[in-house]
Subunit: 518 residues, 2 copies
């Protein structure tokens, strides 16, 4: 037997950077193609978030340049036109995991963890040994360039090679050097990732330079500057005692009562009166006096009260019209339909919205070119494409559990593309790699409803299409035989051959003018 | 437009505990049933690992007691007979995430992250507000009890209510108080989790007390004390420049050359001679002189050299015989077969072994009782059951991609249970919740091969079974009609009725003695 003291000689503490260095797969760094796409994903989501947060119409430039084919060595550049980064924050934004402006705020954004972009810096340094170059300017007339590496043991950014020059440019450019990756124009590659991003973000312009020199502009379909995402205060029905204590630590309110009114949504003065009758907690005390027992009493009182549903002003869905025009523009289908469902909540109080779109025909469907067939599922969370780990995702299981035959769809053959966007201030991802949405029952059910609503519309279209085809076939038969019958009958009765046209129209109901309208 | 300096006012840094508090779903805390199973999972994997590491035959006691049905309040106790925990480590083992004896060692164990058990403490305190009680003794005559909570902002354990008394007991008992969970005997509940654990760990005894007072003992099927898992040094073919630099920081060797020989596996003195010819790096320098350029040169030289496959002495598969006996004991099937494949490597040098077992009939198959039908997939990694996130797992996709009809199996109807165990010093999990294995191509392919090997054997069994049934049916017909024909023939020819038995045997080939052997 081995003694405890000998076993515990091996005991060590680790930084979050060390953890993700060793478990890079959890951040999406697995496989040569996927790893490259993940770097692009982290850079582009950050870039769009930054522009939107500053209230700027996003213009993103992405370039992937091959440095040496044999070692899969690429230089990846992602540039935005957002408000830039104050220099003192650079080491922490790019060199420290779990740091950022998003993790603690109840605000809808693509990123929400403070891990992604530093994960990219880590991947770059652990495959190429090179720092990541950050060029940024806040439009103060000075452009600054720094090289960042992560001190993995300390989870800290180290800066080198600082340069500064005068210039009027504003934005941030990130230059990663990565190895052991592979550029391909496959479903899982950067091209498709950017194409999907453009589809879900019609207000974003993306310019993309591929390693072979191909240059693509994904043009924006709208010039509307997106509304800035707003923080939404937690809803009483969704907070737990533990959340209340965490919120109380940071409040500026002077009493527990005003803290509830100020820091929760839908908690009015009237509710404060009401809760005073329900709990034996002194709500005039300082919030620092709140302990577990009191918090638990307050939370169980919440359960006995009625609250209006949480505000959804902070949620930014794409919108039905824009999803449809996006599908039409990119897939040129015979039919497209989209729906933005009403806001719902999960875990009692976290608001979310599901959007679904369906496209049929054209270049819709799985596969590419004339090979298009079967169902293609495009998943998005807060407009960021999810292209990996489809297996473990609530979107995939909701789509799989639909009885497709009821909608005249054969998922193996019918050329349809299904577009789903999960919008929330807090998307419940199953992993730090943010590629699948956890199966929260309310989210699953809403996705199901959204898919069914879309496919019901597709079904009517397909039924009309089938009817039309049948009518045309029927018309074909009559058109062929009625004139023959007419001729024979005329010959037999020795009369003039009658005009068969009016009869054909009457029988088949086919009328060119009407057909076009249908 | 909003200025950068205003946006960055919101910038904050977070601890890993805060991150997982907010994203508990990433650790498996999602849904009432699953959350309870996750707590049990973390406690039991730690308990078995601890016993094995100490070279002790594991005896685990698990108790779940309902405290109050209305709030889903349960007390969960997990007790082991391992070597106990030295008191000074308690705050870090249970109160600090990313701390432990496993993350940095290349050794096969169920846990490998240093997050799990403190995740359980966090879940307990954030649902019930209560600390977790740890009672432990290293067999030094003193038993110590402490209550641990996590200081989430600092990622540190806080200790309260210390008690100590004299006693001869040895081991560790953890008492969690959790709320918002639900006990159920479903597929995803603790009972099934422990049943699966018993199946893959025939050397472990588990005693289980359920909330309704039911008491189950999962008896051990073998008394063999498991060999202690051994660390395996990294293999040259699997290390990257970055890994080499990380290893060099911790080496005790005095030169880069001896560092390679001492700290890598399969790197002999002969190889050292060879690499000296291949690279222009001074291998007599101190390892602290190793930089990226030198490390990259050394790693590319590795690629030009041949190495024996990595040692697999540190891998501890269950073994074919034990898997079969486990399947037989628990499922009482008509047929069981298991295979332990030869070791392979992924990512160039990380060794792994795939084990597969298949059982047919009895209580094998999805569903329960007489409802058993269709394929049931049981996934394990280093003998720990994986019961959630089956969608995103390499095991699931390998099983799904099998052309089952070729093996006479209808995955919707045939009552079969498929058992897969992924054994490695580093299982590439897709998430900190450790519920799915990433799709590394080599691992996927080996799982496929293992399944096909098992199902080929099942196919022969099923073919024999069908043949036997056909033969019996044929025999039935002859047995019925030959005596009648014999009687009629005898009557017609007025002769004595002949003995039909030898003829029947000759025609049908059915022989009781032979049948039993078959």
């Amino acid at each position: 037997m081995v003694l405890a003291k000998d076993i515990f000689k091996e005991f060590k503490e680790h930084s979050v950077s060390e953890f993700f260095r060793k478990n890079a797969a959890m951040l999406g760094y697995t496989g040569k193609i996927r790893s490259l796409t993940t770097v692009i994903h982290e850079g582009v989501t950050n870039a769009i978030d930054a522009a939107e947060e500053a209230g700027i119409l996003p213009e993103i430039f992405v370039s992937i340049k091959s440095m040496d084919d044999s070692s899969g060595h690429y230089k990846v550049i992602i540039e935005d036109n957002a408000s830039g980064i104050p220099e003192e924050y650079i080491p922490r934004v790019f060199g420290r995991m779990l740091a950022g402006t998003k993790l603690h705020r109840n605000v809808q954004s693509r990123g929400q963890q403070g891990i992604g972009i530093s994960g990219g810096v880590m991947f770059a340094q652990s495959t190429s040994g090179n720092p990541t170059k950050i060029v940024t300017s806040t439009e103060d007339g000075e452009v600054i360039s720094n090289e960042v590496m992560i001190d993995v043991e300390k989870n800290e950014g180290k800066i080198a090679n600082r340069k500064a020059w005068k210039g009027d440019w504003r934005g941030t450019r990130i230059e990663f050097e990565v190895k052991d990756v592979l550029y391909q124009r496959s479903r899982y590659g950067p091209y498709n990732y950017l194409r999907m991003t453009a589809m879900a973000n019609p207000h974003v312009q993306i310019r993309f330079l591929e390693p072979d020199g191909s240059f693509t502009i994904f043009e924006r379909a709208t010039d509307e500057i997106p509304e800035r995402p707003e923080p939404i205060a937690p809803h009483p029905a969704g907070v737990r005692a533990d959340d209340l204590l965490t919120l109380a630590k940071e409040t500026r309110s002077r009493s527990i009562g005003t803290f509830l009114v100020n820091d929760l949504s839908r908690f009015s003065r009237g509710k404060l009166k009401k809760i005073k009758e329900l709990v034996d907690v002194d709500l005039d005390e300082d919030p620092s006096e709140l302990n577990w027992t009191k918090a638990e009493k307050i939370v169980s009182a919440f359960k006995k009260m009625d609250f209006i549903a949480p505000p959804t002003k902070g949620l930014r869905p794409i919108g039905e019209e824009k999803i449809e025009s996006g599908l039409n523009q990119i897939l040129e289908p015979e039919f497209a339909f989209a729906t933005t469902r009403s806001p719902e909540v999960y875990r009692g109080g976290i608001p979310f919205i599901i959007e679904a779109g369906v496209a049929y025909g054209g270049s819709a469907g799985a596969g590419s070119g004339s090979e298009n067939k079967g169902l293609e599922l495009l998943r998005f969370a807060n407009r960021a494409p999810l292209i990996f780990n489809q297996g473990g995702c609530a979107v995939t299981s909701a789509a799989r559990d639909i009885d497709w035959r009821r909608y005249n769809v054969n998922p193996e053959k019918t050329p349809i593309t299904l577009f789903i966007n999960v919008v929330s201030v807090h998307v419940p991802y199953t992993s730090a790699g943010k590629q699948s949405v956890a199966e929260e029952p309310e989210i699953y059910e809403e996705i199901r409803q959204a898919i069914m609503e879309s496919t019901r519309n597709l079904k009517s279209f397909l039924r009309r299409k089938i009817k039309r085809r049948e009518r045309k076939e029927r018309a074909g038969i009559f058109e062929k035989y009625i004139p023959i019958i007419a001729r024979r009958a005329a010959a037999l009765t020795d009369k003039k051959v009658p005009d068969a046209e009016p009869l054909i129209k009457e029988i088949t109901g086919v009328d060119d003018a009407k057909e076009k309208e249908d």
